[in-house]
Each structure stands twice: as C-alpha cells, then as structure tokens.
Assembly symmetry: none
DNA sequence: GTGGTCTAGACCACA
DNA sequence: GTGGTCTAGACCACA
C-alpha cells in the first residue's frame, strides 16, 4: 500500500505518485486497472482531496494514468515503460552525487557497493515473493 | 568558483555551502584560509546577504569554517575530513535511488556505469591539473 | 458505428450526438429511421443510460431527432440540413485556433493544408463507398 | 494584458496561461523577463492565488517559464519555440473539425476562407503596431 | 518579499 | 457516484 511520511522533505502528493509508480512496477496495478477515486483515497490516507488530485495530475503528467471525469482514473497501457523512462533521469542524480564522492576521496568501490547492495536487497524481496 | 543555479531544486544557500566544500576538497581553500566576507560574496554571486549568511552557518555546522565576529570566517583545521565524514550520508541517497532503479528494472550495470563514469570524469580533471 | 473515447475532453454525450450526426450525413440514418432505444444503446456502448438520454436530448435540441414517449426516437425530416446549419458554428472554432496559429508564426500554408488534407481524406472515403 | 472571461468554458488558469503565451509570442514578454508574482497577479485579475499558481505550473509544464522559490518566475530561453511546438498539436484540432465540415457538405472554400481571414486579421494587427 | 504545499470545503458538469 | 475547478486562507522554507 501507498504510505505517507508527513515529515519527509518530498511533498505528500509526490509520495503518493511515487507510491503508485512502485505498485505499477511491481505488477500490483496492471494496465487498465482502476485507481481508487480521489475522495476514497483521501479518506484512506487521511489527506485532503486536493492533495490526492495533485498526485493524480502528476501521474497523468508522467503518462501513468488517464482520468475520465465522472468515470474514474485508470492505469494507461505502457505505464510501466513510461515510468522506466522517467527513471532514467534519476541516473543523473546518482552521477552528480558520485562526482561529489569522488572529489571527497570516497573510494569508488564504496560507491559501487552502495549500488550493488541496493540491487541485492531488491532481488531478495523478489525471491521472497516467489 | 562557486556558481549558483537559481532554478535548481537545492536551495541557494546549500549550493554555496556545497561549492565551498568542493573548493576545500580540491585544495583551493586550504586550512586557515579566509573566506570572502558575507557582503563581498553576496555581491559576487548576486544573491541576498541573508542567503550567504545562511550558507556560512551551514558550513560552520558542518565543521568546515569558523566565524569570528568582526574578524571574518576561516577554514578550520580538519575541514576536509569533516566534509568526507558528511559525504558518507550521501551514500544512502545513492542507495535509495538505486533501489528504485532496481525496482524499475534498470539493469544493475547501467547504474554501476553511472558511478564509474562519474569517477572517471573526476580522475580526468585531477590529471589535467597535474 | 458510433464509438466513444472515454478519455477525450469532449463529453461522452456529445460524442454520441456527434456520432449520430455523422451517420445522418453519411446516409446511414435516413429521415424517419428509428434510433436504437436508450437502454439498448447504453448497453451497446457500455455507458450510463443517463448519458445516452442526454445525447438524445442534445440531438432533439439540434433538430435531428424527435422522441415520442413510449414509441421511440426517429430521425426528423430535414435532419441533414439542420446539422449543416449547426456545423457553421464550428467554423468559428477553426477561426479562433487559426488566429492563435497566425500569432505563433505558423505559416498560413500549413494551416490551409490541414484543411485541404482533411477534405481530401473525406473525398477518398466517399469514392471508396462508390 | 491578460484578461479573464469568467463564463468561458476554458478554465481560468488556462486562460491565464494562454494569455501569457500570447504575450511571449508578441514579444511583450521577452526571454528572461520576470513574471508578476503570484500574489500580485491574483490581485490584478481578482482571482485566487491558487488559480494563478496553477496557471504558472501549466506554463512551466509547457516550457514557457521557470520558477525559483523566493525569487520569482521568469520567461525561459526558447519559450517562444516551446509555445510554437505546443501549437502544432492544435493543428490536429483543425483537421478534426474540417473532417466534420467535409462530411456535412460545407464547401472546402468556406473552410479555407475561415483560415485566410483569421490570418489576414492577425496581419492587420501587426501592421497597426508598426 | 518569493513560490510551494496543504487544508477545508464549495460547486460544477458529467456518468 | 466521478474528476475538475475554484475560493479562502494557512504555513513553510527560502531570498
């Protein structure tokens, strides 16, 4: 389930959007699946409907969902690909931090291990599901 | 020189602080070196003096500089080590992004190459200087 | 057949009404022809009966159909002419967009070709039918 | 100046965004020019600040402005090109309407004249300014 | 001062 | 019921 950390620096609406992206990638929200309604979700997450709607707008902008007034919001076909495309931009964030680490004299191996253990963790959780 | 991107998501004061950290690590600002005065720098960077002041406070907090009212601010002894220590916390940022990439199915090698090329770039610039 | 794009900006009821207008103009729905019943069509299009009802009201307003409670809805005599009359109002929409294009520096020829190719397409489909 | 028609079907925030696009294309808002602040404009237009901000978000999404918190919003370099790019999508709207007109038997010349007179009008207003 | 986020709640057209 | 828009107003970090 999508969860919110009120004290996080990242805005609530972005946490919601990111959460659903994760669910799409996991296969929990397949293409064509209907999103909870704005009102429903706002009750569930104890947030304002406007905040949920902003999250949905963000998901629309990312090509993840499509909203039909009076009908509901649905996962678009190709949503997972759209998310993966967006993800690539995050690689540049890694590169930026890595440059700082390099400059700070942190050994390259330490940075690489950071990535490796992150991937190992995520592989683990996949295996658990199997 | 320290530069500012006013449209970046990271606050200007943090950009300034990060910039001086980089200069310390490069050896451009050795221990004991005097920082430009708040006013001077605010003119140079075309920013609000309050912003520069906040950057200096941040550098103080990080153990990078020491400020003596009426005298000026100076690079502390051990500044580079203090920065390196702070850097380690950024590794967790890399880990967090890497986990998302893993989930999104971005191959581990792509993420690793991100780090590798960042380190290669920074090696290059060191060689140039030699 | 009338089709619905539930993510389109134009309301579903308008899509339905427009669809029947097209059928009238094509000759698929001649004067006096009976419209499908509201229930029947709502099942066929997988829409809410209220929506179909609203579409029929709209067609009535446009002078395209006439509804007799308990009997059914029928294409009026002169329906095609009524539609053509309504169409003219859509010309002002074209004009409005064209003004924006002009302002944006899009060459007039590009806009004109837009129209020309639309007419060519529709001529083609007429020929095919012949 | 940007004006608002409260009774128009197009949302207020979109009217505001469109208005500024027009100003950019006219040269009234050159690259780098500062937008009025959200609060300032909301007073000027007698709307809610949230509505103005939504308009600014839309302009950001279109690549027309960039906003720096605490500093202001500014016309991006290449804003006019970004707008022209967006414009092209409107050509498909013209095509869609033109197809309906063709089907309705409206002579092609009438539709073409629609475009021509729109371009003539806009040329006129350019001449007036000269 | 600036923009960004969020709450609380109203109203709308549409299904 | 659904999403979309808007108002009124608070609070925040940042400049």
């Amino acid at each position: 389930m999508v969860t919110i950390d009120k004290f996080s620096r990242t805005p609530v609406y972005e946490q919601i959007a990111d959460g659903f992206c994760r669910e799409v990638l996991c296969g929990l929200m397949p293409e064509g699946a209907q999103m909870p309604s704005v009102r429903e979700l706002s009750v569930l997450l104890a947030t304002n409907p406007n905040t949920v709607q902003k999250a949905y707008l963000e998901l629309d902008r990312r090509g993840v969902i499509s909203s039909a007034p009076g009908v509901g919001s649905f996962i678009r076909t190709g949503a997972a690909d759209a998310i993966r495309e967006n993800m690539k931009s995050r690689m540049s964030e890694i590169a930026a931090i890595a440059k700082e680490l390099a400059l700070a004299g942190i050994p390259e191996e330490e940075a690489l291990n950071c990535i490796r253990s992150a991937y190992r963790d995520s592989d683990q959780s996949k295996i658990k599901k199997e």
